[in-house]
């Protein structure tokens, strides 16, 4: 009886050691590979660069669409990508650079094509006021993103679009 008991514990011991050694092998084999695969998640997003877009003097009270081209480095592939923004000056003469990407499902909005003085998204009929705030009871549930911006030597520089809180 006692011998049998010992037999069982020996088998258990072997099983634990086996799991341990197997775990060591699997871990040391997979650790570099997993780190390799999740690298894009862990890479710090590069600090957003500002790009010259337009002379401040060209900005009017009426939203205008401005495009600018950015050299985008996508790992081993470098390409020129065009971004755009709707820019205008409000009553207080502040520059408002709005992202044209609809907050509903990512289509491009246009100014005053459907309703006067409103941004309109043709995909699902989303509407935004001039301030970029979404018209209640239309598909979008958040205002248009605002670009980070700064003015240097009379030129408007834009960075990344930043989401705003729901109104």
């Amino acid at each position: 009886m006692s011998e049998k008991k010992q037999q069982v514990s020996r088998r258990q011991f072997l099983n634990y050691t086996l799991t341990g050694v197997g775990g060591f092998m699997a871990a040391s084999m997979l650790a570099p590979m997993v780190r390799f695969a999740i690298d894009p998640v862990l890479k710090a997003s590069s600090a957003s660069e500002m790009h010259a877009v337009v002379e401040v003097s060209e900005i009017t009270k009426e939203p205008q669409r401005f495009d600018w081209t950015v050299e985008q480095v996508d790992a081993w592939y470098t390409s020129d990508v065009t971004h755009s923004a709707w820019v205008y000056k409000n009553e207080k003469d502040e520059i408002i650079p709005l992202s044209p990407v609809c907050k509903h499902l990512g289509c491009q909005v246009n100014w005053a094509t459907n309703e006067p003085d409103e941004f309109y998204c043709p995909c699902h009929g989303g509407r935004y006021y001039k301030s970029g705030e979404n018209v209640p009871n239309t598909p979008p549930n958040a205002p248009l993103d605002l670009y980070e911006f700064e003015v240097r030597d009379g030129t408007l520089f834009l960075g990344q679009p930043v989401p705003r809180q729901e109104v």
């Binding site: 570099p32 590979m33 780190r35 390799f36």
Partner: protein, 224 residues
Amino acid sequence: MLQKVYDWIDERVDITPLWRDIADHEVPEHVNPAHHFSAFVYCFGGLTFFVTVIQILSGMFLTMYYVPDIENAWRSVYYLQTEVAHGQIVRGMHHWGASVVIVMLFLHTLRVFFQGAYKKPRELNWMVGVLIFFVMLALGLTGYLLPWDNKAYFATVVTLQIAEQVPLIGEFAKTLLNGDPSIVGAQTLARFFAIHVFFLPAALFVLMAVHFIMIRKQGISGPL
């Protein structure tokens, strides 16, 4: 907890016999290095399998970055080696593993050969083993091209030249491998990638399964 999950599944699918079938079999004492040190020669087959597992895993991870395209293949390899964390190691595992697996396979073949372990009733398993050797060499050959660097390109040009000079089927074989009668380029790389990543591994899996099933059926050859 784990035991309960296991029991729940086992009640429905009856998995115990499946893994017990793999786990429960005996191994003769004479292949055990703990009994006679000279039995280490029996480890080469297992190590070949182990390196093959490393190759499959590292290869799977490498394709997360690699693209088989002549414009970008080299750039993506360069990128994953220089910019991605541990890229150097993962590609190193695949690169050196390819050499080590050939060495292990070679030693395993020599062990089986000099022990006369291929004799009746194990003739078929020996032949499957030699086929595995050929598949491994072909994997090495096709994998050599994929980084699309100078040595890859020129070595492949020579290989295809050799294929072309085979009588009767040469032209046909070359065009089939190359994808184009004369240009070694975009189509060649795409083909070699497909062969390296899908066709040969599929053949390898089938052959390895047959190899292992036959070992289980026949047992390991007795001591000399």
